[in-house]
Subunit: 206 residues, 2 copies
DNA sequence: ACCTGAACACCGTTCAAGT
DNA sequence: ACCTGAACACCGTTCAAGT
């Protein structure tokens, strides 16, 4: 084991450039998708292209930094829902949020799924934390007898991601996201359960 | 209707080059996905890069030519299933095949969904034909009381495509495609099985 | 008619030169 | 330590020159 040197605080300009780059990247990715030009990102951040590469050695590293934030937010949201709602509702609310996020950024779902299956990824830890938070909601809903016992956490991510990706492709599909989501969630419910009477009422706001 | 000039048969070498290009494109796209290098395609076809562009003015045109074949195959398969199996089974079998095809070629599902929503696309006709063939299977299964009446053809394509896309991302997911597919199809089934007396409430506003 | 490859304007990534 | 932009090897697309 190497003893790390004190890891002195980064220079103020370096820290500032990194923040500007992340900010610019979030904007550009939201506009153009995950395969946006990195030159555009550097330009928007008003920073040399080399500076971008100094902070993020490649596109994947930049996307990872963006995703890392999101994973932490989602893990936190899972804990909130777990406190505030009954098990089935908590799970559905969280999946809806997860799914909507996947729709917002074209190309990010691919990165997410790749990360989830690659233990070497620097994001593996935060991704796993989020996944476990979601799996906790699932387990609770299964204990309550509302969700099929053979559904796994991996299924959950796969389907929520798939619906999110789908609804990000065309505006007409975005409008149907709630409906698609409801169909998928119905597939997760315990067969014959009395949940069939009341469809999940999409709150209407986006 | 414009009267087309005799549309003389293309020169033999042109026809041959076009075939070689399509063949090479199918291989390269299967290996590298829809964003594969067009130079690679031309190289594999042993044809000048300019020749590729003479036959297909851009990447989209090339992908369209590949997709067109597939649409026709799928429409034909729908008619076969309709003859050979009972309504629910026919629908499920067809969806499975559709879904597996989406998984096989990374990036094609996006093109497909875009085509489906763009009447100006040269593929719109064959895409619509396939879509109607699938919608026919859906309608039959709904008449038999097996599939929720509020499910539309658009839902069907969206979900089957989403699952296919998903399972093409990682080998671990490919192994689970059947399972994911089963979960989604369960969401389409009439709640409570065939004995369902009433359609799900809240289906009126679609 | 059709084919070809050089040419153009981009891109991701690297790295020597600056401060 | 950090920043910068020129440089390299690609790419999609166009087009003058060939047969």
């Amino acid at each position: 084991m190497t003893v790390e040197p004190p890891a002195r605080a980064p220079r103020a300009d370096a820290r500032r450039n990194r923040d500007r780059l992340l900010e610019a990247a979030a904007q550009v990715v939201a506009e153009q998708g995950a395969q946006a030009s990195l030159r555009d990102v550097a330009r928007r951040a008003e920073v040399g292209l080399g500076t971008l590469y100094r902070h993020f050695p490649n596109r994947e590293a930049l996307l990872e930094a963006l995703l890392g934030r999101r994973f932490e937010q989602l893990a936190e949201r899972a804990r909130e829902f777990e406190r505030q709602a009954e098990p089935e509702q908590a799970l559905v609310d969280w999946l809806r949020e997860f799914s909507a996020g996947a729709a917002a950024h074209q190309g990010l779902p691919e990165t997410l799924m790749a990360t989830l299956h690659d233990p070497a990824s620097p994001l593996h830890a935060s991704c796993t934390a989020m996944r476990e938070a979601g799996a906790g909601l699932l387990a609770a809903a299964q204990r309550a007898g509302r969700i099929r016992p053979d559904v796994t956490g991996a299924d959950l991510f796969a389907l929520a991601n798939a619906v999110g990706w789908m609804s990000g492709l065309a505006p007409a599909l975005a409008e149907r996201r709630e409906h698609l989501f409801a169909l998928v969630v119905d597939g997760l419910r315990t067969p014959g359960g009395r949940a069939a009477g009341e469809p999940p009422s999409g709150a209407g706001t986006d």
